[in-house]
């Protein structure tokens, strides 16, 4: 089983990459979305903030005006 789970873990990473790619295609619509994504990634790598705090902070991003909308 050790060998099976070794490759399954790799598969889980691929599933996550694929899920984010699908979400990106459907969900990223404007410059604000890019900014929020980059800022959150930077915060996670720099400070490893809790997921709850990130969600709360991101809800505040609604106050950033939408610019450069690429999809309707």
């Amino acid at each position: 089983m050790k060998y099976a789970f070794g490759v399954i873990r790799v598969c889980v990473v691929a599933l996550i990459i694929n899920t984010v790619a699908d979400m990106w295609r459907k969900g990223v619509k404007n410059v604000r979305d890019y900014i929020v994504f980059v800022v959150v990634m930077a915060l996670l790598f720099a400070f490893d903030l809790s997921a709850i705090l990130i969600v709360l902070l991101a809800s505040g991003a609604s106050f950033i005006p939408n610019i450069g909308s690429k999809k309707p």
Binding site: Y3, A4, F5, G6, V7, I8, R9, V10, C11, V12, V13, A14, L15, I16, I17, N18, T19, V20, A21, M23, W24, G27, V28, K29, R32, D33, Y34, V36, F37, V40, M41, L44, F45, S50, A51, I52, I54, V55, L56, L57, A58, S59, G60, A61, S62, I64
Partner: protein
């Protein structure tokens, strides 16, 4: 005490994990770091098992983590606590739906959360990758699987079973 903790933590996950099952993964990473109920490697295995079993992955994860932490009682506590916020929110939203669902602030808040959720999931993927990608062979398998998933849209179970077979046959 463990049941109260499980209830509280999974209630918070149910409340804040907006956007689908895999969104619970970063929250579970936080639990792993805070309480040490399971390791990051065990969490990765739980994700694979939850993806392979029937039902929403978020709920399966709650049941699995609850069971690993405190047996059947823990599974019940975690699962019920995770669905409780959604039930409460849906109950009230269904009453206020016509008034608030298309309110621009509500839509704006949900739109603001979406890219953050993507970043959270990707960061969890990075944390799992640190455990899973131990050598060049694993990296090559990751690239092949990612491309296959991109071009051939099969279910997660299909890829997990294939991965298990590859692991067993090749002893990777």
């Amino acid at each position: 005490m463990i049941y109260i903790l499980l209830c509280w933590e999974f209630f918070k996950i149910g409340l804040f994990a907006v956007g689908g099952g895999l969104v619970t993964v970063p929250f579970l990473f936080d639990l792993s770091e805070t309480y040490g109920w399971f390791s990051a490697a065990e969490l990765t295995d739980m994700i694979a098992v939850s993806q392979s079993t029937p039902g929403p992955i978020g709920i399966n994860m709650a049941t699995y983590v609850g069971f690993r932490t405190a047996g059947i009682g823990g599974a019940l506590a975690a699962t019920l606590s995770e669905i409780l916020p959604s039930m409460i929110v849906v109950y009230f939203i269904s009453r206020l739906l016509t008034k608030w669902a298309e309110h621009r602030y509500v839509i704006n808040v949900l739109n603001g959360i979406r890219p953050a959720v993507m970043a959270l999931i990707l960061f969890s993927g990075w944390n799992i990758a640190k455990i899973a990608i131990t050598d060049m062979k694993a990296l090559v398998i990751l690239l092949i699987l990612t491309l296959l998933m991109h071009f051939y849209k099969k279910s997660a179970i299909f890829y997990i079973v294939i991965s298990a077979i590859i692991g067993l046959l090749c002893k990777l």
